[in-house]
């Protein structure tokens, strides 16, 4: 079946079984079954209102919903908070209001799951924070307040915060929001470095062209997973186009895939 991904050989980082969720009385997720392969980058795609962010929240255990989520083989709600926080990091969308904290303090919050309660940060914490800030080129702003940064700069700091957890599984909701093209490319490099370390990355993306760089794509529509497969596979591309009412088309270009608007009246170029 297409929704169970690419076979059984890969160990599973996150497993969703029979997930149902509703927001404000409206059903947003219908009977989701999904296995996210360990050590791979899985991207969730779909039109607005397809339930992508809700699915990601359910996978992170942030949202209470019916059904089961297993993180690295354990039911996520039975894992002690602290242990879960060390294994799974989360980068949300538009939720921070930490304008009055310095960049350094914000990123240090990512070390909370590794620190004893109220313990001052040790050398390992400081090293992790510095690494994360350098990764996202946010190191120079470490003494500034988050509220003094632009939207894109802020996003890089929040990404550094999520990286500082150094978790095995990293979930990101719209991580490219407000990032300009050079920093979108940098984000791809960060993800590649994470994959090289064996981290599992799951992202919700609106930028289809960027998402096509992932290992696996999960295509959603109307609260259901319509397809789950390798990002380079032709049937996955067909499913992506179908999810967007075939108003986009996916083309190869210089060894990458690009998604472009599909305008039927215009004659396609001969490739």
């Amino acid at each position: 079946m297409s929704t169970t991904g690419n076979g059984t050989s890969q160990p599973v980082a996150l497993r969703a079984q029979a997930l149902h969720a509703s927001l404000g009385g409206r059903a947003v997720l219908h009977d989701i079954h999904l296995d996210i392969a360990q050590g791979q980058w899985t991207s969730i795609l779909g039109p607005n209102g397809a339930g992508k962010s809700t699915l990601l929240k359910a996978l992170a255990g942030v949202l209470r919903c019916s059904g089961q989520v297993h993180l690295l083989g354990q039911p996520i709600h039975t894992i002690p908070n602290r242990q879960r926080a060390q294994q799974l990091a989360w980068l949300g969308q538009n939720e921070a209001s930490a304008d009055d904290l310095t960049v350094w303090d914000v990123v240090m919050l990512g070390r909370l799951p590794h620190q004893a309660w109220l313990a001052p940060p040790d050398d390992q914490d400081r090293a992790a924070v510095e690494r994360s800030l350098r990764y996202t080129q946010a190191w120079d702003w470490r003494a500034r307040a988050l509220g003094q940064l632009s939207g894109g700069e802020r996003q890089r700091v929040l990404l550094a915060r999520a990286l500082a957890v150094e978790a095995k599984v990293l979930l990101m909701d719209e991580p490219l929001a407000n990032l300009d093209p050079p920093h979108q490319a940098d984000w791809l490099c960060v993800v590649e470095a994470l994959l090289a370390h064996g981290t599992t990355v799951v992202s919700v993306l609106h930028e289809i062209t960027i998402a096509l760089n992932a290992n696996q794509l999960v295509v959603m529509r109307d609260g259901r997973v319509t397809h789950h497969g390798a990002a380079a596979a032709p049937d996955t591309h067909r499913a992506v186009c179908a999810a967007f009412d075939n108003r986009i088309a996916i083309h190869p270009l210089n060894g990458q895939w690009v998604a472009l608007p599909h305008i039927p009246d215009r004659a396609p170029h001969a490739n």
Binding site: V62, S97, D99, L109, Q148
Partner: protein, 343 residues
């Protein structure tokens, strides 16, 4: 750049704390001298028992008490602003102060005690009633606002709860006219009836609340990143939120039971601290307390001195000054923390 240079310096918060303590001590010294008999009372205190009594029984406790009440209100304000992720949260705007004063009004009507009573059992009883009222009001506000996410709804609910509970207090006063006189002084907010038992109670509860707020402060830091992120960091949000509401209500209730309704200190003190230094919540709450204590002590001095030998109720003065400060904050525009999210 090396790791040694990594951490932002902590010298500014330390400097601010030192300055605030120094100013507080200076105001304390001034507070002993300001009153109907002026400095001559202090000079005579060495050999005149009446002058000594004025300084020791009246001026000193009320000055120390002003610091304690200011610190408690500022603590409540700083905790509320972090907990509700809302820069306008304040013991007043959340209705908790009105709830506390209703608690006091009801206990005055039922037991016929005076808010000026200095016996510590009376003070403790009034504080408990104020605490219960404050907890009830905060929960009522949260219930009406259906959570804390929606800023405008939270503030409107706070206003509604404040007005309704205020009306209930008035009703209690109408039905039991005996308490009218004592409630009057109380509603205006005054440090005039703070004795040593009130001081000890306020400072003791401030120490307890401060220790709890310090212990719970990582939750406030985590919540600043959003609810989902705080949850993902493994913070036990549900239990700690309840504990923080309890701290907030205890601090508000204690301050209101001793000094009546004193507005805006809880709102202004954390704002002033944040505009001077960027620190995590543990230090923010502590510095806010020092700031709030200093502010109310200064306001109390001003209230005693402005129209001497008469004196203004300090609550009237803070309402005027604090209201002006709030207006200025709102006019400061998009760059301010009141504008919500940056950019």
């Amino acid at each position: 750049m090396t790791t040694a240079a990594a951490m932002p310096t902590h010298s500014r918060p330390l400097l601010l704390g030192t300055v605030l303590i120094a100013v507080s001590l200076l105001l304390l010294a001034l507070g002993i001298g300001v009153g109907s008999t002026g400095w001559s009372g202090v000079v005579q205190a060495m050999d005149d028992p009446v002058a000594l009594q004025i300084v020791w029984e009246i001026r000193l406790p009320r000055t120390v008490g002003a610091w304690g009440a200011g610190a408690l209100l500022a603590l409540a304000g700083a905790v509320a602003q972090g907990l509700f992720r809302n820069p306008l949260a304040d013991p007043y705007l959340l209705g908790s102060a009105s709830g506390a004063s209703l608690g006091v009004a009801v206990s005055l009507a039922l037991f016929g005690v005076s808010p000026m009573a200095t016996h510590w059992i009376v003070r403790l009883g009034l504080t408990t009633a104020a605490f219960a009222g404050a907890v009830g009001a905060v929960f009522l506000t949260l219930l009406l606002a259906r959570g804390v996410q929606h800023t405008l709804r939270l503030l409107l609910s706070g206003v509604v709860v404040g007005v309704v509970l205020g009306a209930c207090s008035s009703l209690v006063m109408l039905m039991v006219p005996d308490v009218m006189q004592s409630m009057q002084a109380f509603l205006l907010g005054s440090t005039g009836f703070v004795g040593w038992s009130s001081c000890v109670l306020m400072l003791g509860i401030w120490a307890v609340c401060m220790a709890m707020a310090w212990w719970l402060s990582p939750v406030l830091d985590g919540l600043a990143l959003g609810e989902a992120t705080a949850h993902s960091l493994g913070l036990p949000l549900a239990q700690m939120r309840i504990a923080l509401v309890a701290v907030l209500a205890l601090a508000t209730g204690t301050a209101v039971a001793q000094t009546g309704l004193i507005a805006f200190v809880g709102l202004a003190a954390p704002h002033l601290v944040r505009s001077a230094v960027k620190v995590t919540h543990a230090r923010l709450v502590l510095l806010s307390c020092l700031m709030g204590g200093t502010l109310l002590m200064a306001a109390d001095l001003l209230a005693r001195w402005l129209i001497a030998p008469q004196e203004l109720p300090v609550g009237v003065l803070t309402a005027v000054l604090g209201g002006g400060y709030l207006l200025w904050l709102m006019h400061k525009g998009s760059g301010s923390s009141l504008g919500g999210r940056g950019t």
